[in-house]
Amino acid sequence: MRDKPILIVGGGPAGLSAAHAVAASGRKAVLVDKADRLGGAPILQGYAKLVPSHEWAKDAIGGMVDRVRQNPNVTVRTGTEVQSFAGNPGDFVATLKDGTRVNAEAAILATGFTHFDSLNKPEWGFGTYPDVVTTVQVEQMISSGQGIRCPSDGRVPDRVAILLCVGSRDRQIGREWCSKICCTVSANIAMEIRELSPKTNVYIYYMDIRTFGLYEGEYYWKSQEEARVKYIKARIAEVTSDGKRLVVKGEDTLVKRPITIPFDMVVHAIGMDPNVDNMTLSAVFGVGLNRYGYVDKASTYAGLAQTSRPGVYVCGAATGPETIDDSIAQGQAAAVAAMTLAGVGLAQAAE
């Protein structure tokens, strides 16, 4: 009988889902998160209504947190990290920074991502002009109930520009991935702005629109057909200010004309970088990273949430940009893999 717990690192949507699945199977889990609260990005950053459920993050993900917190099979340790990790599948020993030792059957990395820091694209004005904000800040404006206001003077903006792909799809800054969810999140935010403040016009500057699958009708079309959000095909050159309002400059590629348009607020749709801790996690857990810096995952056809180290599994945005729904599904898959030590025999046979 396997009675040692499964160690789960990271208590965002992926880790919460893995912990729930392990506990629901009657097994024990130890959930470690370096933050002082569970919930991951949606809770720690204060997201508003989620895609695609339209539920408030504090209700939806908050519900997942409560479910795990209340489950006696899960031991939660927040505000700490794993300092060392040794042993073999079925018999690992992890030492936490707070000194606790955890004997574990297997481990699941659900350590998520880091938000792109817009200061790395100085031409788009973040850090220079207070009214240039990120999607995370707009989520917070909405979820806090404060509404859409220009940080500089608290006025309701007449016109908001959302710039897509900030920190994604850009060789200049070594980020050759699409962050997958920001098109849909931006369409969602645009609709929320229009709802909260119908006199505010919202423009989305895009290169491609990637509201994949069912998000097409629900977000891309709806934002145009019902909320009257405008989409302009242009990658912005720079955001400056005329002293009163922000000025967005670029080329409207469809009419082949330069644009210089005044805005009250500019929103960066920031991407999902690899977790800044990944180098450390890679060293502590002995798992490989892929060429972008996310935790490397074996082929989905053959493996189940497997990393390069037998007995250590991975799920969610730790593996690359992922949505909440997919992170949750992957968390469940990783739980199954960890409880059955899936792939361990395979990996040993391959050695």
Binding site: R171, Q172, M207, R235, A237, G250, E251, D252, K256
Partner: protein
């Protein structure tokens, strides 16, 4: 949706009927102005590969039409018709006829490389502009530009002697670009030199104009370089489907 952007309508595509009645309504003259549709009837499928085969054009296939190069561009700020993003689109789709409409401004790129640092895909648009201007010349769509003439004179001087003979390069350049040698600034420059330089120096200068000094042992090096250059040119001519003997 019809495009009502005036600058996109070409005068030759405007048709007006002096007398026309449609369904009993007289729409003669100004009332019957039609815009002929600009249907694209074919793609030149070789064009992108040809430009990619010239130095600088290698990454053209990466472009996703974001417009960052154009909105960063020094020349575009002065002349909105100078639009690297648009030209790259035309080349990639093989819309040769459209590209040729702008053939007389493409060479104006000043190689400031602002586009290079703006492009999220590392297309190197500056290189593409160079390759495109080069392509236009090789295909005979534009005459050799002054800078091509300069480069050629410069290269010939080096290949011949292993030295850059400034006087000769300058003379060749003026001659080939059809400019007179007695330019006031040049006359003043030479006059000043003659006045101020020591006699011995002037004699040496005159001597070396007649008996061109060479870098020692230049013959072998020069030949190797020449061979390399002509190989590259032959490769490019082949990629462009040109007669190898004719090209420059």
């Amino acid at each position: 949706m019809p495009i009502h952007e005036k600058s996109l309508i070409r005068p030759e595509n405007l048709i007006t009927n002096d007398s026309l009645v449609i369904d009993g309504v007289d729409v003669s003259g100004h009332w019957s102005t039609f815009i002929k549709s600009r249907t694209i009837t074919d793609y030149n499928e070789a064009m992108e590969d040809e430009i990619a085969a010239l130095p600088g054009g290698e990454n053209i296939h990466r472009c996703w039409q974001c417009g960052s190069c154009t909105n960063a561009c020094t020349v575009n700020a002065v002349n909105p018709d100078f639009n690297p993003r648009y030209w790259i689109y035309l080349i990639r789709q093989g819309l040769e006829e459209e590209l040729l409409r702008d053939k007389d401004i493409i060479w104006q790129c000043v190689s400031c490389n602002k586009c290079t640092y703006a492009c999220p895909r590392d297309v190197l648009p500056e290189g593409v502009m160079k390759a495109t201007a080069h392509w236009l010349e090789l295909k005979g769509h534009t005459p050799k530009s002054p800078s091509t003439h300069f480069d050629e004179g410069f290269t010939e001087s080096i290949l011949a002697t292993g030295k850059i003979e400034e006087g000769r390069v300058l003379r060749t350049f003026f001659q080939r670009t059809g400019q007179p040698l007695n330019q006031p600034w040049l006359v003043a420059l030479v006059g000043g030199l003659v006045k101020r330089f020591p006699l011995g120096y002037l004699i040496r200068m005159g001597w070396s104009t007649v008996f061109r000094p060479r870098t020692s042992n230049w013959r072998r090096t020069g030949r190797a370089i020449e061979e390399y250059v002509s190989e590259r040119r032959a490769e490019q001519a082949k990629a462009l489907g040109l007669d190898t003997k004719g090209g420059h």
